[in-house]
């Protein structure tokens, strides 16, 4: 007669089957009844939500909800793909924008307006650790170039923070020398200034 019991909860209990205690059915049921009920309610609630999202519903039973959701998701994915392709097409055929240049020009002007100076500060906190602080003009992809330069010199940056304000960029980070020899702060400072100028 175990079929009778299992058939009713078969669809619900899939993972607990292995743990079912046949000789102890009643205890199992009563002990776990509330948990099982909660689980089932959770599942049914979520299915209801899923159903509410999907506009096209055929029948109202579990299987069809899932099926309809699958078809709807696929449809949406197709739409996304179509739209993104369209966008790419438009993108490729559109003209280049000249806006960034304007931004740069504006940035330099703003900096001057606010009296922010370009600066490079290096502080030696530990044998190999240096705190650096750079204020520079905001330029497009300057940060990337800076980071690249840092990496190429063998400096390892940790705890980097970048902020931008009115056309000026502030980079502060902790610099660890890859080469484990003592790094002179002054040397680093000069190095950094050169880098900033170059990028």
């Amino acid at each position: 007669m175990e079929f009778v019991g299992s058939a009713s909860t078969q669809s619900c209990i899939t993972q607990k089957r292995g743990r079912r205690v046949y000789g102890d059915d009643r205890d199992f049921k009563s002990k776990n009844l509330t948990a099982e009920r909660r689980r089932r309610e959770k599942l049914s609630n979520r299915l209801l939500t899923l159903r509410s999202l999907v506009p096209i519903i055929t029948n109202m039973n579990k299987a069809t909800i899932v099926e309809d959701a699958i078809t709807y998701i696929e449809k949406l994915q197709m739409t996304v793909k179509v739209l993104s392709d369209q966008l790419l097409e438009m993108e490729s055929s559109s003209e280049e924008s000249e806006r960034p240049r304007n931004d740069e020009i504006n940035a330099a002007e703003e900096m001057k307006k606010h009296g922010i100076e370009e600066k490079v500060e290096v502080t030696n906190v530990d044998g190999c650790k240096l705190w650096i602080r750079i204020i520079s003009k905001k330029k497009r992809s300057r940060i990337t170039k800076f980071l690249e330069a840092m990496a190429s010199h063998g400096f390892e940056l940790s705890d980097t923070n970048v902020t931008t304000f009115k056309g000026a960029t502030l980079i502060s980070s902790c610099l660890n020398g890859v080469y484990s020899y003592k790094i002179e702060a002054e040397q680093v400072k000069e190095l950094l200034q050169e880098i900033i100028k170059s990028i």
């Binding site: 058939a7 669809s11 998701i73 003209e95």
Partner: protein, 532 residues
């Protein structure tokens, strides 16, 4: 169940001779069911005593004309007064059997009943051909295979158990042993033994020595012989009217094909208590192992009961004998829909799995989480679709604007950032949010208008800033703010960026690109260097 029967039999002691007095329905049930040897084995399993009756049926596969002495047989049986046998015991059959033990009348009556059933219920031929009178004559005919059965008839005496046993053995004969004559033997026996003084022949008729019958068994017969010593349970006819003549008047239509028990019983006029009870008894005995029924007293069962018990019995029956398969599954749902239910479950699981495969970030594997992920994904897809629509729209507007400007030729290199005419098109704020997860990276992209906030969490210790900023440059995002650092095993960063004008990135593209790059980096870096 069988043990219970046996116990009851033992308790009843000598009252095991109920075999012969199986009620009418059993006969035709037997007949129809035993068209197959499969059924035969089935019946044997269920109740050995039925075999006895089965033998009569099985032996006759052809349809033959009833012998001329058949009417005579009926007349004889008609004369029989069942009341004389009944003593109102709780088991009419056993009572009658007891009587029979004392005198052959009961036995012969039983036999007559048998024959009667055979005559009525079997389609035209068979039992009709059984001529009671011919039994005794052909008993000793060794040439006839069926006749061999008869000699055993005569061997044992006054031992119903053995008779039953032999009946059991008789049941072992399959249809191949179609022998009219045997039935005719029986018929003759019955008729001959109708008189009370003729007990021995009838008894012999009913008793088949084991050895003989077993030898006649086909080698591959699935019939299992029961222990001859085991007392067959007495199917309670619940009525002493077992031997009533009403059966004569019973005009049961021949069943064209082996009907299910239920149908059979339904075909029986329910007005007859005997048939009802008999049906029940038949059901009980056929399905066997139902000790409860055996103790039934002379109460008349109601038709409903029959159905109910039939259901129970059929349930056990069909579950015990899976080979008989999905017979009229009056049995409850479990057996009935076992295969379909299983299929349904598997289909449902397959659907859940498909749903899980669609979702980009599957978390857990249980149904509720899959559905939850699907919900989130659908919402995300909707957002993405809206965003893309907006972008396309914007792009189109910009294009048109540009064209217009070009044609108007009033552009001095400074394009207005926002055209009032366009604002109506782009009045809706572009907003989008999605998350992507990969093995080591988690990306959260939120876009409001032209500001993009990217949250990046990566597990391994790789200097990702460089790569990320590179990616962001590629995506034409202007890094405004970067914050983050170590958190335990993770790098966590927050990027505030602005989309450059004219760029048509959307959240999905950003996230995907980032994930792609990060994964590439992880793959490129050997694992040892990551460990600190």
């Amino acid at each position: 169940m069988r043990e219970r029967e046996r116990e009851r039999e033992r308790q009843r002691g000598s009252r095991s001779q109920t075999l012969l007095l199986l009620p009418d329905p059993i006969f035709f049930i037997n007949f129809f069911y035993l068209q197959n040897s499969r059924l035969l084995s089935l019946l044997n399993k269920i109740h050995p005593s039925l075999i006895f009756i089965h033998c009569f049926f099985l032996l006759q596969t052809d349809r033959r004309q009833p012998p001329d002495n058949h009417p005579k047989m009926y007349e004889e049986t008609g004369c029989f007064d069942p009341n004389s046998m009944a003593e109102g015991g709780d088991d009419g059959i056993s009572q009658s059997v007891k009587h029979h033990k004392e005198d052959d009348a009961a036995v012969s009556a039983i036999e007559l009943e048998l024959q009667k059933h055979l005559a009525f219920n079997v389609e035209d031929t068979h039992t009709q051909s059984i001529s009671i009178n011919s039994n005794t004559h052909s008993i000793h005919d060794p040439a006839n295979q069926n006749h061999q059965i008869l000699p055993p008839y005569e061997h044992s005496h006054s031992n119903w158990d053995s008779g039953v046993v032999s009946a059991d053995h008789m049941g072992g004969f399959d249809q191949n042993e179609n022998d009219q004559s045997q039935q005719s033997f029986i018929n003759t026996d019955i008729s001959s033994s109708f008189a009370q003084s003729q007990t021995p022949p009838l008894l012999n008729l009913l008793q088949f020595p084991r050895c003989t019958t077993s030898s006649m068994l086909p080698p591959n017969s699935s019939i299992s012989f029961t222990n001859p010593d085991h007392h067959f349970p007495v199917p309670p006819p619940t009525s002493t009217d077992v031997l009533y003549d009403p059966l004569f008047h019973l005009n049961l239509p021949p069943q064209p094909q082996p009907p299910l028990f239920r149908e059979l019983f339904q075909s029986i006029p329910h007005g007859y208590s005997f048939p009802a009870s008999a049906s029940r008894a038949a059901a009980n005995s056929l399905f066997g192992e139902i000790g409860d029924e055996r103790d039934a007293t002379g109460a008349f069962y109601e038709d409903g009961d029959v159905g109910v018990h039939l259901d129970n019995r059929v349930l056990e029956f069909s579950r015990d004998l899976g080979c008989i398969g999905r017979r009229r599954e009056t049995a409850g749902k479990p057996t009935k829909h076992f295969a379909t239910e299983r299929q349904r479950r598997e289909q449902l699981n397959g659907k859940f799995k498909a749903l899980k495969d669609l979702v980009p970030n599957p978390t857990k594997n249980d149904r509720a989480s899959v559905v939850g992920d699907a919900i989130e994904y659908i919402k995300e897809l909707l957002r993405t679709v809206n965003e893309l629509k907006l972008l396309v729209e914007k792009k189109r507007c910009v294009r048109e604007r540009r064209k217009r400007h070009r044609t108007e030729d009033d552009d001095e290199g400074m394009k207005p950032l926002v055209d009032p005419a366009d604002q109506s098109y782009n009045s809706s704020l572009r907003s989008s949010w999605l998350q992507r997860k990969s093995k080591d990276t988690e990306v959260d992209v939120r876009i409001i208008d032209d500001e993009v906030t990217i949250k990046l969490v990566q597990r391994k210790k790789i200097d990702c800033l460089l790569f990320v900023s590179r990616v962001l440059d590629e995506l034409q995002l202007d890094l405004h703010h970067v914050a983050g650092g170590h958190i335990g095993d993770y790098y966590s960063f927050l990027f505030n960026t602005k989309i450059y004008e004219g760029s048509s990135v959307y959240a999905g593209s950003i996230a995907n690109k980032l994930i792609e790059v990060m994964d590439k980096q992880y793959a490129a870096v050997p694992p040892t260097s990551c460990a600190y």
